[in-house]
């Protein structure tokens, strides 16, 4: 793959961001994930970590080690840019670890669905209809961020897409499932937050001492199933 619209820019002097696009699409997100996985499997000297996001991948590096190992480049940034560009050109050959589909139980009772009434009012639908629409869609996990194990998912149906709360809650309960525009996400920990809460799950999204740190991975597909 080669594309002139790809932008490389420094994220400070210890990281480089590859911006594939400025919009959200599954194909672009797959590239971002594949590029990150490529470098996690094939680290260069001085590589620290790769962070995939919606439509970009950021490579963090130890600039002293990169400069030492790639003396032919004027800067560590130039060296990493060259490595990233080469990897992107071979990206069709990069195998992604593949996506899984997971079901997540969702409690939409009054005590858990803190903003269900607001979402319903905002969309002019009944709470029951809102839940039906929300659970009828298979979401894609685009990235993890914000909190350990917090998943950014899309696309929420336009009929129930709801803007963030005007004033964020000081504490959103752990396991809360929120909507922010067309995004949905699961609060992996109790945290301040402004997303509209449609329900709660009791699945641990973040297991700090587990073999897998997070329940979800970028690229996963998620279906919510209501529980009583």
């Amino acid at each position: 793959m080669s594309d002139d619209s790809i932008r490389f820019f420094p994220l400070g002097d210890v990281a480089l961001t590859v911006e594939f696009a400025t919009h959200i699409s599954e194909a672009i997100n797959s590239k971002a994930i594949s590029l990150a996985e490529y470098f996690e499997r094939n680290p260069f000297p001085g590589f620290v970590e790769a962070v995939p996001a919606y439509s970009s991948t950021t490579l963090f590096y130890d600039l002293v080690a990169v400069r030492k190992n790639f003396p032919q480049f004027p800067t560590a940034f130039a060296a990493v840019k060259s490595l990233a560009a080469a990897a992107i050109n071979g990206i069709s050959k990069i195998e992604s670890s593949g996506s899984r589909t997971v079901e997540i139980p969702l409690d939409c009772s009054d005590g858990a669905a803190l903003d269900l009434e607001f979402i319903a009012e905002n969309s002019g639908l009944s709470p029951g209809k809102v839940i039906d629409i929300f659970t009828s869609v298979t979401y894609r996990v685009y990235m993890l961020g914000f909190l350990p194990g917090f998943s950014y998912m899309a696309d929420v149906d336009d009929r129930i897409a709801t803007p963030r709360r005007d004033s964020p809650r000081l504490l959103v309960p752990k396991g809360s499932v929120g909507i922010a525009g067309k995004q949905t996400g699961i609060y992996s920990l109790e945290s301040p937050g402004g997303w509209q809460i449609i329900g709660r799950t009791d699945i641990e999204m973040f297991t700090p001492f587990g073999a897998e740190l997070t329940f979800l991975r970028p690229g996963d597909r998620v279906r919510f199933v209501t529980v009583k």
């Binding site: 932008r7 820019f9 420094p10 994220l11 400070g12 002097d13 210890v14 990281a15 961001t17 911006e19 400025t22 919009h23 959200i24 990150a36 620290v48 970590e49 790769a50 962070v51 995939p52 996001a53 919606y54 439509s55 970009s56 950021t58 963090f60 600039l63 002293v64 400069r67 004027p74 800067t75 560590a76 940034f77 990235m143 993890l144 961020g145 914000f146 909190l147 350990p148 194990g149 917090f150 950014y152 992996s188 920990l189 945290s191 973040f206 700090p208 001492f209 740190l213 997070t214 970028p218």
Partner: protein, 320 residues
């Protein structure tokens, strides 16, 4: 050997150079705010750069040493006093059994660091002792230190007398002030600033707001503007990233920042100058000076080169 927190201070946490490698899970590195200070005092003690240290804010804690240990303090100058004797920053000292370390006033800087020879025994999580306050993990039970906490150290010194040989040369000590100029490189959205916006970024003094903390410093100043609105999708951010909020005000992300953000990244503070910024507190001021990435890298390399000389010197001292 252990140390006892006799008075907790405002915010004292165990930190090292950060928990790298897990940003893609939403786990940010945490770690010390002032990397230079932590490295320097660890090197002075013959420790690894990454050895855990206590990061102290003012009002600072009162600490009792349970056994003889060689220690060092650096970063902000909080006027440390060991029993009745003033302690000099950036110079190892012997803390005798039952001696009490107190701090007088914060003369310069807002974060002071305490390291002990051999390091502290802490909760490691994912290869780091840094405290993640949001997830309650790492450091000392994932939380700030409280009265009566006892932190174990790895080593007790057997030396009865101690001649402090190691010292950091003046040129290595960051030039802390209440109004530093810190160098930045352009961020991904720098080009989206209007000419006036760039002028305002580089030619005004910003004031650190009181609602600044380890997550980020909010800067008060004349608002900047973009030539056209930028709708950004969330992507990775870093320690030192300067984001522009919708109202034109700036926030600099610090050690406890979240892993991703969606505001325009107009600039990034360079590694070499982050310690100067990290030592600022409410009402201090800062100005920005734009440099090229090559200069930012060369300044970091130069500091690393100087640290290598110090490492060699301290190892020589330790092995004598």
């Amino acid at each position: 050997m252990s140390i006892l927190i006799q008075k907790p201070g405002m915010l004292t946490t165990v930190q090292d150079l950060g928990r790298n490698g897990y940003r893609r899970f939403g786990i940010n590195p945490n770690g010390v705010m002032d990397v230079a200070a932590a490295c320097l005092i660890n090197i002075l003690l013959g420790n690894d750069d990454n050895e855990a240290v206590l990061e102290m804010h003012f009002p600072a804690p009162e600490i009792v040493f349970a056994a003889d240990v060689v220690a060092a303090i650096g970063g902000g100058d909080f006027s440390p006093i060991l029993d009745d004797h003033a302690v000099t920053n950036w110079r190892p000292f012997l803390a005798k059994k039952d001696s009490v370390l107190k701090f007088g006033r914060n003369a310069v800087g807002n974060r002071a660091y305490l390291a002990v020879s051999g390091g502290f025994k802490c909760d490691e999580w994912l290869g780091s002792s840094s405290t993640n306050l949001a997830a309650h993990l790492g450091g000392f039970y994932g939380r700030k230190l409280e009265k009566s906490d006892r932190i174990e150290a790895n080593k007790t010194t057997k030396k009865k007398t101690f001649a402090s040989g190691g010292q950091v040369s003046q040129s290595l000590i960051p030039f802390y002030s209440h109004f530093p100029t810190v160098r930045v490189i352009a961020g991904g959205e720098f080009e989206n600033l209007t000419a006036n916006g760039r002028e305002l970024l580089l030619n005004q003094d910003f004031t650190i707001s009181s609602n600044s903390n380890r997550m980020g410093f909010r800067l008060a100043g004349k608002p900047l503007n973009l030539s056209r609105p930028v709708e950004l999708i969330s992507s990775a951010v870093s320690f030192g990233t300067i984001q522009m909020l919708p109202d034109g005000q700036l926030i600099v992300l610090m050690a406890d920042h979240q892993t991703s953000g969606g505001y325009p990244r107009i600039a990034h503070v360079i590694t070499r100058d982050l310690p100067l910024l990290a030592q600022l507190g409410a009402n201090d001021k800062v100005a920005f000076h734009l440099v090229e990435i090559a200069e930012a890298e060369n300044l970091a390399l130069e500091f690393e080169h100087d640290l290598n000389f110090l490492r060699a010197g301290c190892k020589f001292q330790a092995n004598r």
